[in-house]
Symmetry: C2
Subunit: 386 residues, 2 copies
Amino acid sequence: MSTTQQVPTLSAEEISIHPPKRLLFGPGPTQVHPRVYQAMAQPIVGHLDPYFFEISHDNQRMLRHVFGTQNECTFVVSATGSGGMETAITNLVEPGTKVAVFANGYFCDRMTDMAKRNGAEVVRFEKPWGEAFTDVEAAEFIHREKPKVVMYVAAETSTGVFQRGDAICAAAHEVGALVIADCVTSLGAMPVNVDKTGIDIAYSCTQKGLSCPPGLSPITVSPRALEWLNARKTPVRSWYFDIKLISDYLYVSKRYHHTASATMFYGLHEALTLIDEEGVAHRWERHRQAHRDFVKGAEAMGLKMLVPEELRIWNLNTPLVPEGVDDAKVRLALVRDHGIEIAGGFGPLAGKVFRIGIMGPLATRDHVEDFLAKFGEALHSAGYNG
Amino acid sequence: MSTTQQVPTLSAEEISIHPPKRLLFGPGPTQVHPRVYQAMAQPIVGHLDPYFFEISHDNQRMLRHVFGTQNECTFVVSATGSGGMETAITNLVEPGTKVAVFANGYFCDRMTDMAKRNGAEVVRFEKPWGEAFTDVEAAEFIHREKPKVVMYVAAETSTGVFQRGDAICAAAHEVGALVIADCVTSLGAMPVNVDKTGIDIAYSCTQKGLSCPPGLSPITVSPRALEWLNARKTPVRSWYFDIKLISDYLYVSKRYHHTASATMFYGLHEALTLIDEEGVAHRWERHRQAHRDFVKGAEAMGLKMLVPEELRIWNLNTPLVPEGVDDAKVRLALVRDHGIEIAGGFGPLAGKVFRIGIMGPLATRDHVEDFLAKFGEALHSAGYNG
């Protein structure tokens, strides 16, 4: 009794939503494929309907593929990416747990904040925004501090830096610690390799590399982390983000926990199906190529990148704002003249970098060339002479 | 530059979502109006886009109207209704806070669980599922216990009982306590009257009386509760659900907190616009009438209601399962033969009641009559002779 329905063809005047035209070249949310919107407009079923669990099960399977993991415990949290971060932290941290944070950007600070709210004793290895940690110094830090939980941001959205995780995970496991990795910006756009890297909990969002609207947070949990959860002495401080309760609902007993959104699950299903059809390796390569095209074009305009070549996230570029140029004027011109959204830097990088996301449907040579032409125009209108 | 777009007319075969046809007569999610789906299929904008804040601002305004409040601090949490419950509790409860719970159903137990995870000292006034608390006994309990926070469920989805809040709120304020009321099932379908009742934090969901897909939790916070938050000695245990951080993002400084979902905000906007167009008083009356029609029809079939007339929720009916009838067979027949979803009882009411939601687009005489005919058929096919 399958009855996929055409969205009723109501005229634009009949609804209250009239968004301005946008091309989303910011750090996220990113452009969404029309098929994803169409999927989200399909009639909902209940949160305990067999069809809901079928879609949820498919999502788990496709997410494992994109995460690069065999973890059975792979699902989506009914909250945005920051809800995934809180899920990871609130489940692994008990009062007094020693947590080591690799701190080189905005989201490491958010992790620190959340860990402290959960009663952690936090030690931080600090680096300036825009730098990464070498394998040797990462391992030394962990061996010296001997934490119980290690946290790092694999793809730091505030700086454009990709942090390798292999040495972090190896050292953490040597001292008996578990590793949480923030993959909010990388998942779906570049390899995350959860199992190969040795990450114990990785979480992400739907609105960046997966090219879906925001609203859910994919997460994957290693068997080692599940053992740890079973051995916790105190209850997880959050009921909503309790991994054991959520996974019991979504794929163990299928007993009610919360009312997950069929609409959001449909959208993610379509976005993951698009990735499956393209082939995940092909998709990653497409993002890498679009990134290279962007850098080449930006450098040809005389721009410099904040992050050294080997540390760059493929789908989030951070060119430096040229001397004497007001980045806000450039961003304003882009959105005013072309409906193009990009982001500026913040914190120590305020006014110093642009943050330009090239992902999902926009990660093609044509889109990059078109963007570069308009970006150049906007830079010149703001006084750039390069 | 407004460019509301028609959803591209992809054929059904081009997407991966093919839901079975369902008429949602359960306790939620409920049926969604086509205009809401159409709104959710509009292209997203960023979570810091002026258009996003415009929609968010409209939602705040329309939610105040439906909640019956002047509270400036009225917004939506980026999580389902249970996330709203956790938001209310984690913000008001500190370790050692004495919390009084009116416990007469499933969701009071969930509140208790969350309060304990936040370190509360919980005292409970217990009643069998299906009963309500009188004004006198409610006030006595609060005066005797002198808690700091009082929690009750205004419309208990597990039983169909509506709990009056006036005496609870008056007594709570007399002892200097704040009141949290769960309005998950009532908002949009019957009056909630936050200000008149004296509720300090009321939260709800989108997928019941508001007739939207699930995914967000509307919440409203009194100035008294905000003062309390400002005077907290310990940080709120949840970063994601921290009311001060979320409200700062959504309507104070508009600085980034999390990436709220334009899609979900669009859907809620359309659902609230539909309520505005109908007129909230008319909508409530429509639900009351549909409820009366249902009860009249059910009683004509020989069924009895669990809850006395004056304590019934208008949009969630709990007729008793007749002697000798297996409720699972009835539910199965409805979904198999007609795609109609209703729910059974659980906990102490497992096998004893049906839970039948009549809300949103389905709260009309025609839909109720059609439902009753099919419900009667299913009951008889399961051996009912009434």
